[in-house]
Amino acid sequence: EPEVTQTPSHQVTQMGQEVILRCVPISNHLYFYWYRQILGQKVEFLVSFYNNEISEKSEIFDDQFSVERPDGSNFTLKIRSTKLEDSAMYFCASRTGLAGGPDTQYFGPGTRLTVL
């Protein structure tokens, strides 16, 4: 069964450093998402991406965040200058984008980001 993969599984960084989290969505999917979950809290939407541009973003997704699809398979989330409060699990998700009816988002296993 196809699945979303994410690397690395755990990233430790110093405050102020840049990090790039990587995702490989399911191959025939057209819509891509990033969510995050701070320990003990809810899963929160960050951004959605379609046709090489952001289609929607939350208030969390400020200028420190950016997303990119550098090639035909990878989807990345960059945090330019990490803060302590960026420590969280980051989940990538994708969906097919077929027209009509419901469309399910499939999540990756997540990257645990720890900012020291």
């Binding site: 819509y31 998402y33 809810k42 899963v43 939350s58 989940f91 999540f107 296993p109």
Partner: protein, 111 residues
């Protein structure tokens, strides 16, 4: 999107059937009901999705009454490995697709 309300936690024993009910009083015509499962430090895993009546797959059943203001996820004969948080979400089939997760129901299965 319609707000969802589900129990904070539930306890069960191995081999029992578990039913988790979610209320979504303000569900709109275009909304579907989707359930996800999440284990600690893992991504949410899609379980089942439906619009009305009953949907069944190899993992669970989803019961949705005619007014669609609630739904019930039914897990037959749970095992210890079903211990997880279960989320009920209401999602549109068009437009905004970002999923809004609540706090979910923490299911604890005892031996």
């Amino acid at each position: 999107l319609a707000k969802t309300t589900q129990p904070i936690s539930m306890d069960s024993y191995e081999g029992q059937e578990v039913n988790i009910t979610c209320s979504h009083n303000n569900i709109a015509t275009n909304d579907y009901i989707t359930w996800y499962q999440q284990f600690p430090s893992q991504g949410p895993r899609f379980i089942i999705q439906g619009y009305k009546t009953k949907v069944t797959n190899e993992v669970a059943s989803l019961f949705i009454p005619a007014d669609r203001k609630s739904s019930t996820l039914s897990l037959p004969r749970v095992s210890l490995s079903d211990t997880a948080v279960y989320y009920c979400l209401v999602s549109r089939d068009t437009g905004r697709r970002a999923l809004t997760f609540g706090s979910g129901t923490r299911l604890q299965v005892q031996p």
